[in-house]
């Protein structure tokens, strides 16, 4: 199981204090992707605050993309616990997604057209993480290209690499789903590492290293070819060490593990090339140019 972080239980939920010292909470990143769902309609009669006006002008008018920051309980499934964002975090969060998600597309060839044509109509901001009954934490969701949900907006800290990586991973991952949903996967994509995919609901038993040896950028990528596609796109875009971690082969391998990792890297490289070609072919977007635009912003 992928352990992302040990957390202070009492800070996020009321749990019998007896449990805290003995328990290690396992936060497993997961995306409830591709759940067919009808977008939630915001209640009518909304006030026109300066923030609402800003959203109207900068997001709805420009991209036909609504930003939902006022809590509606069916943004998450029943039984899942989550809180809304702090009001003062909404504008900085808007700036964040504009800087690292929208603007990179605007500065590359065909990017603006692509973005406007493919952007989901709803973006949801949630304050905390979504805590699931099985102990996992949902980092973000996308629903059939109709909505992307950002969690942990209350943890907003652009100086925190971990927070930034998680948010960018979510949005690049979810936005990548629109490609295979509209244009299918690259030809024979799922045949590059067919034996590496995990059975339903078991991806989280893999470690990062085991996923790499199978030819995947993360354990979650092993859950299906669609998730593999989206994860590979996301990691390629946000991970500044992507080539070192997943493409460049280790030299002078003397162990079986090292050789397995290199075999995995060869498969990832094959997938990456297929994805880059696919983006160029179906939407005229250079993923490499997009990565360069994003990385120049991340510094």
């Amino acid at each position: 199981m992928k352990i992302l972080k040990n957390i202070n239980i009492r800070s996020i939920a009321k749990i019998n204090p007896t449990g805290w010292l003995l328990a290690v909470i396992l936060l497993s990143g997961c995306y409830d992707s591709e759940i067919l769902d009808v977008p939630v309609n915001e209640p009518d009669n909304l006030p026109n605050t300066p923030l609402d006006n800003y959203i109207q002008e900068e997001f709805i008018d420009k991209y036909d993309m609504a930003i939902r920051y006022r809590f509606v309980d069916n943004y998450v499934d029943p039984g899942k616990r989550v809180t809304p964002p702090r009001l003062e975090n909404v504008r900085p969060m808007l700036d964040f997604i504009e800087e690292f998600w929208i603007n990179p597309y605007l500065e590359i060839q065909n990017g603006e057209t692509f973005f406007k044509d493919h952007v989901p109509p709803e973006i949801i901001f949630l304050g905390g993480l979504i805590f699931n009954s099985d102990g996992t934490v949902t980092l973000g969701t996308a629903d059939a290209g109709a909505r992307i949900t950002f969690t942990n907006v209350n943890g907003l800290d652009p100086e925190d690499e971990e927070w930034v990586s998680r948010q960018l991973n979510v949005v690049y991952h979810e936005f990548a789903h629109t490609i295979h949903q509209r244009y299918k996967l690259p030809a024979s994509f799922e045949k590059i590492s067919p034996a590496g995919y995990t059975s339903a609901g078991s991806w989280f038993i893999l470690s990062d290293g085991e996923a790499l040896e199978r030819g995947f950028v993360s354990p979650y990528a092993t859950s299906s070819p669609n998730e593999d596609f989206a994860e590979t796109v996301a990691f390629f875009l946000f991970d500044k060490n992507f080539y070192e971690n997943y493409i460049i082969l280790e030299e002078n391998c003397t162990t079986v593990d090292c050789e397995d990792r290199n075999e995995g890297r060869k498969k990832i490289n094959q997938k990456l090339n297929a994805i880059i070609d696919h983006y160029q072919k179906v939407v005229g977007i250079s993923l490499e140019a997009l990565r360069a635009a994003i990385q120049s912003r991340l510094g």
Partner: protein, 458 residues
Amino acid sequence: MKKLLIYIGFVATSMAFFSCTKEEVIDLPTVEERFTKSRDSLVNALVAPEFGWRINYQPDQSSGSFVILMTFDEEGNVNIKSDVTDNDGEFLDSNITYRIDNAHGLELILENYGIFHYFFERFNGEFEFIFVNYQENNLVFRSKSDFSNQTVLNFEPAAEGDEELLTNEISQNLKKSVFQDAQLIGNNAYFQLYLIDKDISVFITLDLDLRTCKILNAAVGETIDEITTNNNTVDVFHKTNYLVQGEKIIFNSAFSFSLNGQDILISELELFDFVEFQDSFCEGQTLNLGKFQGKIGNENITFSSTLYSAGSTFSPQSNSPYGVSSVGFFDQNDETLQDLIAQTFPDIAAIQFYFNFTLNSGDLNAFGFVVLDNNNNADFFLREFTAPTFEGNRMRFTFTGETLITKDNPTPEEEQGLIDLTDLLFGSGEVYVLEFAGDDTLFEIYNACNNHKLFLFQ
């Protein structure tokens, strides 16, 4: 035939009645119109009181209550004031937005993060409320997210001076002397309530976040020496929630006891004139403490933070040791010693405290570490000590010089590490055993000489 006529008559009457009813339905406003009217009516009610609303909010049955003041406007904004000082005081006075929905009836939704969402995250609170009814001048809501034992909120029109109920001096000052780890289990603290005229001390452990408490015991005398000399104590063991309101701590359920020929009943404390002072619980070392002057009725009291209590429920366990994972050992800065322990015992499974544990060879009193080997077999590294003695909750013992190590050929580093690590907690031979308001199986061992602490579960 008579029955048939009756039936015909009944059907005809029903049709006539139904026909009339149908006409009336057509004249009714639409659902949307009725909702709008109801919503506007509720919004008008919410914005009406000149000084807003006052709520004594109890997020969960296991928690205490909090005074909350809310002022709504017609634009969907609500100002919320509380005396909760957490998160750098962001909940003392905050503005968020609200709306009225129509789902399970009229619903009050607090749309952005604020004090109620904080309660939701920490104490099973809620931030979506279903409107129940008007009760005279009050509005009654119930929580939407509680599937059972739904919290009921009674919105009372606030009075002009109600903001004085939110003086957070008591809340802030109570937290100035917290010796029970603040990071992992919230702010808990021991207090000595001294009834000056009666010369009786009452010892209380408070969970300052949840606002619950446990009245532990009472004793004749004020100082530790007086209490020890008088040797006249009584266990109380009364658990209750409390509310901080203005200068008062109000116990949800009053507690009583008899001591030294006096019957004592306490339902609330009035506290004022807080001062910080220093006291010593280890020779040569001082701790910063806080003391309130106060009253119970007309009687003068003091209410002081302390490490001491006149008794302890930390008791011998013949069948199982007290234990905790290595995360539960902390230094004077509340930083876990997990990494330090791992330098000597990288595969540590648990810290254990044996208190009169029954072995064939006799009782075992020992403290140390359980480590797993490559085959997941447990190796024990324990250091023996003499049977503990108590003065109140002050526990004393000395190490015997013997160790109990089950590993074959332990390294010199492991043997020395066992001595060094156990000395961090028990090197002084005297510690204070602290209890918690919310958990009878959890104890804290506090070394007042170096402020190291260990949490142990029974």
